[in-house]
Each structure stands twice: as C-alpha cells, then as structure tokens.
C-alpha cells in the first residue's frame, strides 16, 4: 500500500461541540440517523456528601470518531461482495453498485463506522472527503473544528508527530484492525471503568 491517510484526534481538548459531525453531515448530505462522524461522551462517577458539601468524583471526556480506515479493516474482510474495499490511498469506501445491504460490515466494525442508508438500502461511510483531499484541502470535519483538535495526514507523519496511541475507551484494542488514527487521551481517560454504560450519550450516536 503506497499511502495510508488517517486522523489525529486530540481528545484532551475536545469539548464535544459536534461541529465536526455537522460539517460532515453538510458535506455529505447525510440523512438523520446517519453519522459518519460522531462524538461519544464518556461520563461516569458519583457524588458523596462530605460535611455540607457535595463532592464529585466525576470524569467526562469526548471522543470524536469517524472511520479509522484501518490497515486490516474487518468490514472489508467480512464483506461478502467486496463492495467494501480499500483504495490505494488507504481509504475504505463502499461501492454502492455492489453492496447488498446485509449490514455485516456494521456488525464487524468495532468503531461503528459503516452506516446504513435506508433510502438506498446500501451501506455508507466516511470516505475521508476524498474529493477534498484531491483538491489539497482537509476533510470537512478537520477544517471545521473550532478547538483545532482534529488533524488529517499520512499516518507515518501523524505517528511521528503525535505517537501511536490508537486505543482509548470506548475504542477497542487496536491490534486486530490497526486503525489509522492517533489519539491524545483526555486526562481522565485513565480512570474510566471501560464499560459501555460509561457512554452517556447513546441516543446521540
């Protein structure tokens, strides 16, 4: 593979404002319920009454996630039709003309990237704004971020710049699919109990 593009996500400064999500929806004309990029809010912890005070032991952080265009994408491996494929730039996309809409890729992907298009009966997903990349622009989500926590680039360069952390909760271990993403964890990520209940905005993702 000649190239592998990917994302850098600085979870430590992500506010969860979802501008990336909206920019993605606008760029790709996505229907409601189809979020190629979405933001997971991790939140857990409790409160204790100490004296007259309520004392929190609460953690919260956000992870903005689209498709990680994995080096070994399970969605591609498991797709019965080869509609899901990886191109020479490392971009994983769906060929709508081949897809049967069995949604097996949706089960397979541990990042929730493939999304079903109800209208067309086929799968859809982040294509890294391939047209923007061709024009030399950043993907819509990256260019949108008011906090500048998203970056796009070739994985080698991103890894050199930001290291190789690619598995913060709620993401799975990265060993199997080798996601093309580098993440800077939020300070409270280390304290999360890693159960799915800790994703507190289920209805939004």
């Amino acid at each position: 593979m000649s190239k592998q593009y990917g994302f850098y996500v600085d979870s430590s400064y992500c506010s969860g404002c979802k501008t990336c999500q909206a920019a993605c929806i606008d760029k790709n004309n996505l229907d409601r319920g189809v979020l190629w990029r979405r933001v997971y809010e991790v939140n857990e912890g409790g409160w204790k009454k100490v004296g007259n005070a309520w004392v929190p032991n609460v953690i919260a952080y956000n992870v903005s996630l689209s498709c990680n265009h994995c080096e070994n994408p399970l969605c591609v491996k498991n797709c019965p039709t080869t509609a899901m494929h990886k191109d020479s730039r490392g971009i994983v996309t769906v060929d709508e003309n081949k897809c049967i809409g069995c949604r097996y890729c949706e089960w397979s992907c541990p990042y929730g990237a493939p999304k079903y298009n109800e209208k067309k009966g086929v799968m859809s997903k982040c294509n890294l704004c391939a047209d923007f990349i061709e024009e030399g622009k950043d993907p819509a989500c990256v260019a949108a971020c008011p906090m500048r926590v998203l970056e796009f680039g070739e994985m080698d360069a991103l890894k050199k710049k930001y290291g190789s952390v690619n598995e913060v909760f709620p993401l799975p271990p990265g060993g199997i699919t080798k996601p093309s993403v580098v993440i800077k964890p939020h300070k409270s990520e280390a304290d999360v109990k890693s159960i799915s209940a800790a994703i507190n905005n289920r209805e939004e993702v």
């Binding site: 260019a143 906090m147 507190n200």
Partner: protein
C-alpha cells in the same frame, strides 16, 4: 452569474492588495515564505467547486450566539448546497480563522426547512391560537399601517413598542429596522439593557466607571491561572475562538479552574479542575475567598491602597467613613458573621478546603484571571455577584496588567466607536425608556410606572403598551420569563390591541401575531457584522440566494409600511439593502475601521472578512494602572469602588448593599419554598440552538436533543432513568420531557437548556421543554434585570 466571476476575482492581480491578511503579510510572512506563496495558497484553496455555480464567503447568520464566524457557501441553481467555514491560510492566534460552530454548519436545515413562513398572514382564530390565513402583501401592509396610525392617534407614540429580539442581527434584518420606522413617525416607547447581561451591564460601571473592562483575548496566553466562573465559552461561544484562546493559554502553562453547577463542555475540554457550586451562591464563595486572602494576608495591599476605595475603614470614600467597609463585612465585624470557608461551604456546597485552596491559588498565581460568565448575574441579586468578582480581581491586583482580568461585563469596543447593529435608527422623539425585562409591566400598568420601576427619560410613562411591532423576536412568549403569564397577557386583546410580527418561522411568539409577515433569512439579503464583544473584524454578508416565496428583508417590509405611512423617502434615504450596507461600511471607515475596504472592493475580493492581527493586545485599565492620578476612572472617587457611595445612596442595603454581599435569593434551597420545590433549575445555553433560533433544526436537534438533565442522586429518588419522561413543575408551569441522568450536574440542581419552543398540549403542559414555563418575572433590585435562573421546581416521573 455575476458572482461566479467575482469568486474567481480573488486571484486577479488588482485585488491582491486587499488580501489584507496582515497575519502573513506582516509578522508571519516569513513563515509562509512570502506573499506570493500565501496568495498561491489562497488560490489553491479557493477554486470554485465544479459542482457549484458560485462560492461566496459570508458571515454566519449569527443571531445572538456570541460568535461572529465566517461561512463559505456553495450555491447551485439558486440553492445553497454546501456550507464550509473560514479557510484563510495561516490560522494564527493573532488572526485566527473564524470557524463556525455546529449551528452555522447545520444552517441548511434551517434555511430549507419546510416550515419557513412563506406569505403574509392574518390571524383568524383567537390570539395565540396559531390559526392564520394567507393574505396579500397589500392587505397586510394596509392593516399594519392603519393600526399604527390608529393606536398612535388614540394613545400617542409612547403606546407603540418594539420589543427586544435578537433573531436577526445584521443591520437590514432585525429589530432596528422597526425602531427606525417608528422613529420616523414620532417614535415609540424605548427600552434599555438586555436579557443577557442586565446586571453586569449596570453593575460594572459602579466599580470601574466603564463597561470596557476586558483585555483583548490574545492576552489570555499571558495568564498563569484562569477561573472560568460560570463561564462556558465552548457552548455559548462568547466570541468566536474564545475557547481556542483558552486552549492556547493552557498550552502556555495556565491552570484553568471551572466553577459551575454543570460540568460544562468547557469544563471537560479546558479545566484542570471542576468545582460544582450551588447556583446563586457565587458571592458567598467569593466572600470566603476574600476572607482567606485577608486572614492570610494574600491580597495586594499596595494595590488596594493606591487604586481602590472602600476596602477597609481607612479607605472609605468621603462622607461614608463610618459605614461598613468590605473588610468589615468579610470579617463579620458588624454583623457578627465572619465569611469563613466553613460559612460558605454550607451555602455553596463547595468544601471549605477547596474554597481556601482556590483563594490561595488565585491570590498567589500572578497574573490570574477570574472570568465571570453572565449566568451568575441573570439571578436574583446578580449585581452583587458581578461586583464581588470585580473586587476579588482588584484586591489581588489583577486589574490593568497583562494576564490579569478585571472582570465585569468586559467589553472591548464600546468606547472605540459604533458596534453591532449600526443601522441608524434615528432619534426617538419619545424619551421614556423602560428596563427591557419590564415590558409586560408596561403592558399591564405602564401608566403607573416611574423611576421605581426603572423608567428613565421621563418621570413616568404616559401610556400602557398598546401596539407591539416585533421583529425577529421570540422574546415576547418564549424567551421572557413565566411563559404562561406572558401568553395570558398577550392573548387579552384589550391590553395590547395589535401585534405585528416579522418572522421566518411560526415561533411561539409568531402565534400571537395579528399580522404575521414572512421575513427572509440572512442568506437572502445583505448584512454586515463586526466581532462579537471580542475580535476586531468586519464581516460582510452578501446576499447569497434570492428570498424565496413572498419573503422580504425586515428593512423591505418596514419600507412598505413607511411608504403607506408617507415616510418612505425619509425611511429609506433612497437606499436599498445593499446600498445601506455600503453606507454602513463607510460609517465604520469613519470610526473603528478606517482601513476596511469599501463595499465594491470588499465584495469583489470574496474574502468575507476584514481583520487585523492583534499582536499587542489591549489591556483594560493599563493607563490607570500606570498612573491612577492622571488616568482617573470614571467613578465618583476616580478609583476602583469596592464600596460604592452611589449604591449606598440607593438606601436599600438589604438588596443593594454598597459592598458586595451574599444575599439569599427569593427562591432558594434554603427557603420555605424548597419544601415543595426542592430543586434549582439552570436554563443554560445549549448548542442545539441560539436562544430559541434553530430549535427546529433537525441536525442540531439530533446532536443535542432537548432533555432535562439531572444527577443520579436526584434521579434515583424519583425512579427516573435516562430516557424516561420527567414532569418538571412549580406554581408557574409544568413541562413533560425526556430526561438524561448524568453525573455532570450537581445534586439538587437540574438543567433545562433555555430556548426550546413552548409547545403546550391541551392541558397547558409544555411538551418541548421551554424552561420559561417555570421562570419568574420578578426583576433584580438594581438593574431591573432578568433573574430567570432563580427558580425552584419539583421533578417526578411522568
């Protein structure tokens, strides 16, 4: 299309001069390897999309969000098909890209919403029922003009009223167009102050003699310690890029503390520590911090002596030498209650150790910022919280220095010339003004209102409000306190006899119109905006698409009424919308922005924004700090007034103390009312919408659904879990909406984000979650401002 050429025009030679992006022409040129490369970069990034007919850079139709951002809009066949944001190269802290937020990027859903108002309509049902019938523009304008004439003749101009409203905020769209119209025919009852910042707007000058109390944001990176006190720039923006500047400050080593009952988006992204505090008790915590500083001698006594009055008995202003000083109050010399951290813990729910530690950290980390958000002052005694924060800034010597922060309203541009809506309203021959929050009082009992009700410009009002001309305003029903009360008042046709509304959607306020006129959106007319509170930019908003159906700009609608009233020439001065924008740019050139390009050049450049990089950020009170004798403050003493003689003379020490004191709110967890209604509600800003604008936007709704947020402690007691329908109520109203259980809000406090469109069912129960069905119309003592956050409720499973 004409504009297609214009978009490409960016790359032609003559216009390069206007690439006044000093960021790289000046200091950062080296970084980019020179102007040629920079321009090349612009060219590469600004090629029109093949799929679009034209690409236009324009200001985001910002409403009243606190941000002023840039959009890059692609249009095909007269329709907006894509919205991007600022893509100027060289995104630097001196001149950062003005990146739009989730609302701006979701705008197409609002723009092409099927519920857009399309035609003029007249009411056919009972007022407020929402039943309308399509009529012609002619009929509509005739009716509006004749009603204005009738009411004017019968009662006089002071019975006419243009209410607060910020749905459109861009010169030729917005409320100011109606003010100008009425001013041409003899004026109307005016108002002062705002819903956003009534208390800080009034209180800040009592301390500092000015509202320009903010350093420019580029200075924040110089701070070592930043307290975001009830301040949440990630969700309410408070200036495009404020959150980004804080990130830069943190990267520069600043420690950031967030004091807020909610663990806000800002707390998560920016704060090293989140300290939940019981709403309405901020002054108590601030007082206890002062106690620690005084007891441990951590305050800046030199600064206090040189620059302030009223701190202790030796520094009292003339004539008040015997009065209780700030130190007296803090140490409890007179009332016998030392304002210790223990004392404050019981009130604020913040552990005493935490209060003491924050006091020490803030007092010793120099320079440090205590940034007060406006949430703490939309409360019962909001004025005192504002002043208390200013006092802490003063006694720690953080006023007038880089990296410090004086607090208060923290404007930057007031004295520099006109800002925001500079469309000339003309002089209002009616001198009387009411506090904006008291309009419903002026409907019910205007003729009884005097200075005691905050009336200025006249001894008393000579009329009740009889005609309301509402433009881009959902404040009448939705955003004003106590919605059920407002609805009852306005549905009584014997009180307000005629209501005309310009709107883009059938908002709860629009439903109370007698005549409802369809306004176009900002993309459909011309506009101009400058940076919001912060930011020295001018943003051009060219008309991007045609106004659809029979919609018109607010200016065009008012022009029609003006014509009917025989003042068309006077009203329009012969200008259309675009020509007004050209005129207003010239106004800016004469004042704040001498170098802003004239309209033609500005438009042809298609850059959308004129900005100047800030390399030497302005520091508020720097002159005063340098020489307090030569550069006196505009206060009676010429110094920072910790004790205000003016407030002392109000002779209402229980509600308007001359030094900032904690006062228990009129609805409080410590009052009797808590037996029945034990939970405090905060109606915080929410990224789903801008106040009530965008509440019908499906994209923002999906991202941020309207919920009542409550703590697991409170939820478990009530058998509530995430997704359950919760009934929230008090004596003023009831709502039933789904809840979200989250540990990100403190026990005893629930959050119902403000701005959801009031949607009463047949029993009057709001099903959408408009917090104002619960809020109170009672106003604050000094500013006559809103105290909408001071309410208590009960929650149960619906």
């Amino acid at each position: 299309m004409e504009r297609e050429k214009e978009d490409k025009g960016i790359i032609t030679g003559s216009r390069r001069d206007f690439l006044k992006w000093g960021a790289f022409v000046g200091c950062a040129a080296a970084m980019f390897g020179g102007v040629a490369e920079a321009v090349k970069a612009v060219e590469d990034k600004t090629k029109p999309y093949i799929f679009a007919d034209k690409v236009i850079r324009t200001g985001c139709p910002a409403h009243n969000c606190g941000g002023r951002c840039l959009l890059k809009v692609s249009v095909k066949e007269g329709k907006i098909i894509r919205i991007e944001t600022d893509d100027r190269p060289g995104d630097s802290i001196e001149d950062p890209q003005l990146r739009a937020c989730v609302r701006g990027r979701s705008y197409r859903n609002r723009q092409y919403h099927p519920d857009r108002l399309k035609y003029p309509m007249k009411r056919v049902g009972k007022r407020g029922e929402g039943k309308f019938e399509r009529i012609s523009w002619e009929e509509a304008i005739n009716k509006v003009a004749s009603e204005i004439t009738r009411v004017k003749n019968k009662y006089g101009n002071s019975a006419l009223y243009v209410p607060y409203g910020t749905g459109s905020y861009n010169q030729v769209n917005g409320r100011q167009t109606a003010n100008r119209l009425l001013n041409m025919i003899g004026g109307s009852l005016g108002f002062y102050n705002s819903y956003s910042w009534a208390c800080t707007n009034i209180a800040t000058p009592y301390v500092y003699g000015t509202k320009v109390s903010g350093n420019q944001r580029q200075d924040w990176v110089n701070s070592k310690y930043i307290i975001m006190w009830s301040w949440n720039p990630c969700e309410m923006r408070d200036g495009t890029n404020s959150e980004y500047y804080l990130k830069k400050a943190k990267e520069n080593g600043a420690k950031i503390i967030c004091i807020d009952p909610r663990m806000t988006l800002s707390a998560v992204a920016l704060a090293d520590e989140w300290i939940p505090i019981r709403p309405g008790t901020d002054t108590a915590m601030m007082s206890a911090m002062a106690y620690v500083m005084i007891k441990e001698n951590l305050y800046d006594s030199d600064f206090v002596k040189k620059y302030t009055v009223g701190f202790d008995s030796s520094l009292m202003p003339g004539g008040c030498e015997k009065e209780e000083s700030y130190k007296d109050y803090i140490l409890g010399t007179r009332d016998g209650i030392p304002k210790t951290p223990e004392w404050a813990e019981a009130i604020t729910s913040v552990p005493k150790e935490t209060i003491a530690r924050i006091a020490r950290e803030y007092a010793t980390a120099k320079p440090a910022m205590l940034y007060q958000g406006y949430g703490i002052q939309r409360r019962a005694y909001g004025e005192t919280a504002v002043i208390a924060g200013c006092v802490l800034a003063s006694i720690t010597g953080n006023v007038g220095i880089p990296g410090g922060w004086a607090g208060g309203i923290a404007l930057q541009a007031d004295d520099g010339g006109p800002f925001w809506n500079i469309f000339p309203e003309g002089d209002n021959p009616v001198n009387a003004k009411i506090p904006v929050f008291l309009w419903s009082e002026a409907v019910l009992r205007g003729k009884e209102m005097t200075a005691a009700d905050g009336v200025i410009g006249a001894e008393k009002l000579d009329n009740n409000i009889k005609l309301i001309y509402a433009v881009a305003s959902n404040a009448l029903i939705n955003q004003h306190a106590n919605t059920n009360r407002s609805a009852k008042i306005l549905s009584d046709e014997s009180l307000v006899e005629f209501i005309v509304v310009h709107e883009q959607f059938m908002t709860p306020t629009a439903k109370f119109a007698d005549i409802l006129l369809p306004a176009c959106t900002q993309f459909e007319t011309w506009g101009l905006e400058d940076g919001w509170k912060y930011g020295d930019e001018v943003i051009l908003m060219p008309q991007v698409v045609d106004a659809p159906y029979e919609t018109k700009s607010d200016f065009a609608i008012c022009s029609l009424v003006a014509e009917k009233l025989g003042v068309k020439e006077k009203y329009t001065e012969g200008r259309n919308e675009k020509e007004w924008i050209a005129y207003l740019i010239e106004e800016y050139r004469k004042t704040r922005f001498p170098d802003v390009p004239a309209l033609k050049e500005f438009e042809e450049s298609n850059i959308g924004v004129y900005s100047t990089p800030i390399t030497k950020p302005h520091i508020a009170f720097a002159d005063f700090r340098k020489d307090p004798v030569k550069h006196k403050l505009n206060t009676p003493s010429g110094k920072i007034e910790i004790f205000s003689r003016q407030l002392f003379e109000k002779n209402n020490p229980k509600e308007i103390p001359p030094v900032p004191k904690y006062i228990q709110e009129w609805e409080s967890p410590f009052g009797k009312e808590a037996d029945k209604y034990p939970l405090q509600v905060i109606g915080n800003h929410y990224l789903e919408r801008v106040h009530s604008t965008h509440d019908n936007n499906a994209i923002t709704n999906e991202a941020f659904p309207q919920r009542v947020f409550l703590n697991p402690v409170d939820a478990v007691k009530r058998g509530l879990k995430t997704g359950d329908k919760a009934k929230v109520y008090n004596d003023r109203g009831i709502m039933i909406i789904p809840c979200r259980v989250t540990s990100r809000i403190m026990p005893g406090v629930i959050s119902i984000p403000q701005g959801a469109w009031w949607t009463p069912d047949e029993n009057g129960i709001d099903r959408r979650g408009n917090v104002n069905v619960l809020t109170s119309e009672r106003w604050t003592p000094l500013a006559f401002g809103t105290a909408q956050h001071t309410i208590m409720v009960q929650v149960e499973k619906a």
